[in-house]
């Protein structure tokens, strides 16, 4: 199963590193990353393979949310299929 992780917030040092550190920690394999900084808003989208994860998706989400709170970010963890079904015919 593939999971999309997005992080949006004020640009700061090490956001990408913090997100990927959590991924590495739970064995979620990062497949693709795209990031842009618009004005000073940082916007990152990461596609990960979570099928071999050592924890369940709920735990991953709460780890991400905890990190997001500390760094004043908005983080979303969502299943890839959601986007495929909504935006592709």
């Amino acid at each position: 199963m593939k999971t999309v992780i997005t992080a949006v917030g004020k640009d700061n040092v090490g956001i990408l590193a913090k997100v990927s550190a959590i991924c590495a920690d739970v064995s979620a394999n990062v497949i693709d990353v795209s990031q842009t900084v618009m004005q000073d808003m940082f916007c990152m989208i990461m596609l990960t393979d979570t099928s071999k994860m050592t924890v369940d998706i709920g735990t991953l989400r709460s780890k991400m949310e905890e990190m997001a709170k500390e760094n004043n970010l908005q983080v979303h963890v969502m299943h890839e299929d959601l986007f495929n079904s909504m935006h592709r015919i």
Binding site: V4, R61, M78, F83, S85, M86
Partner: protein
């Protein structure tokens, strides 16, 4: 690879525009629970519901977590209880309501629907007893919802049932007067009731349905409004196109969740109900969509036309998005559950007569409307008959969910809290309809019924 724009759009819809799956509703047939001994029948009903639905809430929560989509309600609908209770001669049907309540509590669902009777052409064994027990059933339970179908295009309208339902609605309200008349808010009177509706309070599991099935109701008035706000100068055909595209996306989400829930529960996936179901939350209003299209206030002239366009465009977008569409599908216009409707009713722009006109083109009917507590039962019956006539002639589902607010008068307000919302007590025509209602009998089926 996924498109960045698409991902951000979806997140914005969920986070800022209140997009959610309103309900996953499991339909369960109770036909195999019929027994002449009511206690045996109740036990069978309890066991059947528990065997099918014990994991429903867990699966719903799992999907919510994995996919990151809010799923607001998990519900159960069952075979109309009048069919099951018909075999238990002389017993009190409220026992079934208590059984449903126990099963709902033990499964952890938000509502259970199906304390219902289908009497569009007349009362069969058990129907009248069940209908007369509805006010008591709703007053001693919290999760049980009730509905009665009193007419259809094929059969006409059962005026005796209309008359009875006027009294039942009042009584349901009176018996729960200490709880904001909540009883009447859990009772719907239908014409052309659908068998696969996942929305409460009108959900029941039709007799032609499979043993167990999953139906999904989506929501998202806020998303449609936000999409329209981006095109302030579009002409009305372009507006309809924007609504279609948005409805498509919303429905795809419903289809995904329904299929996944069905797979995990080992139950076939039934339908997606493509409804725009408002909540009292700001930004989740159908009235605000109409106002975004260009009405100063919902209820003014032009409301019916814009609502007709909205209702149709939602269906067109949704039909393309899902392999199976059913239920009520369209735009709901419940007054107390919609912040824009509440405002419009408060300022006098939206009246009962205009709402009636709107129900000719919306997906259901007169929904969640608070009327003065001293409204005569015959007047409520006549409102039900009017609404059923619109449904009968137009081959559409119509429904009435009125709440006679005990002890309150026109202009005062009633507050239910939660998804059911709050609203002003609306003006009702004071001229009597008693003679018409007391005639009784059956309004014959219209010419439209002779299609064979």
């Amino acid at each position: 690879m996924l498109n960045t724009q698409d991902i951000l759009e979806t997140i914005k819809m969920i986070q800022d525009e209140n997009l959610d799956i309103r309900t996953i509703t499991m339909g369960i047939s109770l036909l195999d629970c019929i027994d002449p001994d009511i206690d045996v029948a109740c036990e069978k009903v309890y066991q059947k519901i528990m065997s099918k639905a014990k994991n429903l809430v867990k699966v719903g929560e799992d999907i919510e977590r994995e996919y990151g989509i809010p799923i607001i309600n998990k519900r159960i609908s069952v075979t109309p209880i009048a069919i099951i209770s018909a075999a238990c001669k002389g017993a009190d049907p409220v026992k079934f309501a208590l059984t449903l309540e126990r099963a709902a509590t033990d499964c952890g669902v938000n509502f259970i629907g199906g304390y219902s009777a289908l009497v569009q052409k007349g009362f069969s064994a058990g129907d009248e007893e069940l209908i007369r027990s509805i006010p008591r059933a709703l007053s001693v339970t919290e999760h049980v919802c009730s509905s009665v179908n009193i007419g259809s295009t094929k059969t006409g309208i059962n005026l005796d049932a209309c008359k009875l339902m006027g009294q039942i609605v009042k009584e349901a309200s009176e018996l729960t007067a200490d709880r904001n008349c909540i009883g009447a808010a859990k009772l719907v009177v239908f014409c052309n009731a659908p068998d696969d509706n996942p929305f409460m309070a009108g959900a029941f599991h039709g007799v032609g349905e499979p043993d167990c099935i999953i139906n999904v109701g989506v929501s998202g008035p806020g998303v449609v409004r936000a999409a329209l706000a981006k095109a302030p100068d579009a002409n009305i055909s372009e507006v309809a196109d924007i609504i279609k595209k948005t409805a498509f996306k919303i429905t795809r989400m419903g289809q995904l969740v329904g299929t996944e829930a069905g797979k995990r529960l080992g139950v076939p996936f039934g339908i997606v109900d493509l409804s725009l179901a408002p909540t009292p939350a700001v930004g989740d209003s159908v009235a605000h969509i109409l106002e975004e299209i260009g009405l100063e206030k919902c209820g003014t002239h032009g409301t019916t036309a814009t609502l007709a366009m909205l209702n149709d465009a939602v269906k067109k977008g949704g039909v393309m998005a899902s392999s199976r569409v059913g239920g009520l599908s369209g735009a709901f216009i419940p007054v107390t559950e919609d912040a824009g409707m509440i405002d419009a009713a408060r300022c006098g722009s939206l009246c009962l007569e205009k709402l009636e006109a709107m129900t000719a083109v919306c997906s259901v009917g007169l929904d969640m409307i608070v009327v003065p507590g001293d409204t005569p039962a015959e007047t409520i019956s006549a409102i039900i008959a009017d609404e059923a006539a619109i449904g009968m002639v137009n081959f559409k589902t119509t429904a009435v969910r009125l709440i006679p607010a005990v002890g309150l008068k026109e202009g005062e307000e009633l507050d239910f809290g939660g998804l059911l919302g709050y609203g002003p007590i609306m003006k009702v025509n004071k001229n009597s309809s008693a003679k018409f209602i007391n005639r009784g009998g059956q309004i014959p089926a219209p010419m439209q019924s002779l299609k064979n």
